[in-house]
Symmetry: C2
């Protein structure tokens, strides 16, 4: 037997009761039975976004939600500002360019967080910017960006919307879309929502809907006006991913029962305990400014083959960490705290990290990371 | 207890062993474990399409696959020919218009099949047509179109591709994409594939790929070149719908074990038995020319409320039939033969139809439909 532990920042583990819920017999989507589930889900998901707006649920992965945020609000030739601080920041740029949207960007070293002042500066020198696009939590670098502060800057401008990829922040951090003034908030199912991949979520403010009305960028499958019309009637424009939506109701029920504040606190504790362990073991965090509670990126020593480490941990020990992406391939290890993950999953992660790197030849004091995590966690136990 | 029977043309029942396969713990998609599953699925699905081409698997519903077929091959201003013989024919038109593609169409009464001669005539008078778009089986009317014959006509033209929505034909009928000369074949997971909705499949011929190279229509999430590059390496451009792909492997294994010829024959027998029952009961089929083995559409008598009938069968008797769509709402009843559906599911469907319409006040001879179905099925039992 090789017992398996999924400790990567998405897909994340799915609770057994959610798996079993999705294993129930299929139902038809144009029925009162489905509409009732859909209505319930649409209502229960709102507190996670902190919004009264409709949250549109699409069959697709998070990238579909990101594309929808651009293709529904912008026109060819429009200019947007992207915070490019990692793989998913870069994705905003790639999508925008595919739709002939002009991009100005704030280019940051991977591991850095943007500041609201940097955004403000760009907006002052480029008054034609129609949208500011950022990740709340940049999964590739395990870094947080100061969303609330940036929102304050963007909200001063009537002609600019603030678009946030919340794929690894919604469900991890308290998010107040309406209060902070986020105009579009996107997320996916396979992170804090404790579901398999296959659903994207997009919520839009009234300000964003005004941009939608003026957008002529071609779209059909991801046409949010059509979805809004259907979903406010508790149905969908096209066939929905029925089983995932049924699982979503269960997952939202689990979160509701735990209490959202407790969900966020659990993520914080697991993340902070991991950061304490990393430091105790003498490693550096990749996140220089604001580390995210979604996952922790650890810089590996030079000449250490991080890719081989991640591979052997997975294949020989059943532990799925994530490595680095793009130019950080092999150079970092990422440990997730997302979703269906509790204190002792963090202990497993740290212990596996300790044993794994010792086995890989690094000279560390075994148990030191676990001890630091335990010290930190103790008061919350 | 109200035992439930899903007899609508999608979503269709999912076999218990597929449901349980999808209920296994989540795995990461950037791993050898997932790539091995994906490679297996990519190989095993080919006989269903009758192609050596790569079949791209997308996270989305069938409509996403239809959009991809248009947005990846056509340019704004190009002209296409659509066979508009039902709700899904109309969808080709709507998608094309969203992307500023010009549409010529063959408009047919719902229930009619197109002929190859009608397509030929249009192509002769409109030599600029770049693509012919049709449903193999039009789910809204339970009608078949003569794909093989149309392919012969379109194949004579170097500058025109033949695009087929096979959403309720792949897995129902033997389909020989390469031999017949289909350039793009699209399908979805929730019909004959015996899976929940959430996957779209798109296969392209070499001729179609040449159109793709020349298409400048904006796209990102549904960019098939990007997907081809990834999927030929047994991975995906964006996060795949992992659990559905795992279920797909199981479902394909079930079909392979039964033998594809037997799968097709089973659909034929259940459909033909249903048609025999409908006629024995004195009803008319909606399909005037070529009825599809995916589902059978039955014309209900005038003044009969088909919508109320479908609703009460579902809510009071656990039987999910489908009604008519658009202007046929309330006027027809559709019974599915798709996917995980065997002889005795057909008997249930016919018996339920008999009892239901009797209860609704129509004067029929009870058991006459079942008897006709039994007579037909007997030799195959």
């Amino acid at each position: 037997m090789l017992k398996k532990y999924l400790l990567s920042p998405g897909p994340t583990p799915v609770p057994e009761e959610v798996l079993l819920e999705m294993a129930k017999p299929m139902i038809h989507h144009r029925t009162a039975e489905f509409s009732e589930i859909f209505e319930d889900v649409r209502k229960k998901i709102k507190p996670l976004f902190g919004t009264k707006n409709d949250i549109l649920i699409l069959a697709g992965s998070g990238t579909a939600g990101m594309e929808a945020a651009i293709s529904n609000t912008m026109n060819p030739g429009d200019k947007i500002l992207v915070v490019n601080a990692g793989k998913f920041g870069k994705r905003w740029i790639d999508i925008a360019k595919s739709f002939n949207i002009e991009v100005d960007s704030i280019e940051l070293e991977w591991g850095r967080s943007v500041t609201a002042a940097q955004v403000e500066e760009k907006l002052i020198s480029n008054p034609e910017i129609k949208g500011v696009f950022v990740q709340a939590s940049e999964t590739s670098t395990t870094v947080l960006h100061p969303i609330k502060e940036i929102a304050e800057i963007v909200n001063l401008r009537d002609n600019t919307i603030f678009v946030v990829d919340g794929i690894t922040s919604v469900g991890v951090y308290e998010t107040e879309m309406d209060e902070w003034g986020i105009d579009i908030l996107v997320t996916g199912s396979q992170k804090a929502f404790m579901l398999p991949p296959g659903l994207a979520f997009v919520a839009l403010s009234e300000k964003a809907w005004k941009f939608v009305e003026k957008s002529s960028t071609p779209k059909f499958y991801l046409d949010l006006q059509k979805e809004r019309k259907a979903q406010t009637q508790n149905t969908t424009a096209y066939t929905p991913a029925v089983s995932l939506i049924i699982g979503l109701r269960k997952a939202l029920g689990i979160m509701e029962k735990e209490g959202l504040q407790n969900v966020y606190k659990r993520h914080y504790i697991c993340a902070e305990a991991t950061r304490a362990a990393v430091k105790a073991l003498g490693f550096q965090l990749l996140a220089k400014d604001l580390p995210s509670n979604a996952a922790t990126g650890i810089i590996m020593p030079e000449n250490f083959d991080g890719q081989a480490f991640v591979k052997s941990m997975r294949e020989e020990n059943g532990i799925t960490f994530a490595g680095g992406q793009n130019h950080l391939k092999g150079k970092i290890v990422r440990i997730s705290h997302l979703g269906y993950h509790d204190f002792f999953d963090t202990i497993i992660a740290i212990s596996a990290f300790e044993m794994g790197i010792k086995k890989a030849g690094l000279d560390i004091e075994m148990g030191k990371g676990v001890a630091a995590a335990e010290e930190f966690m103790l008061e919350y136990l």
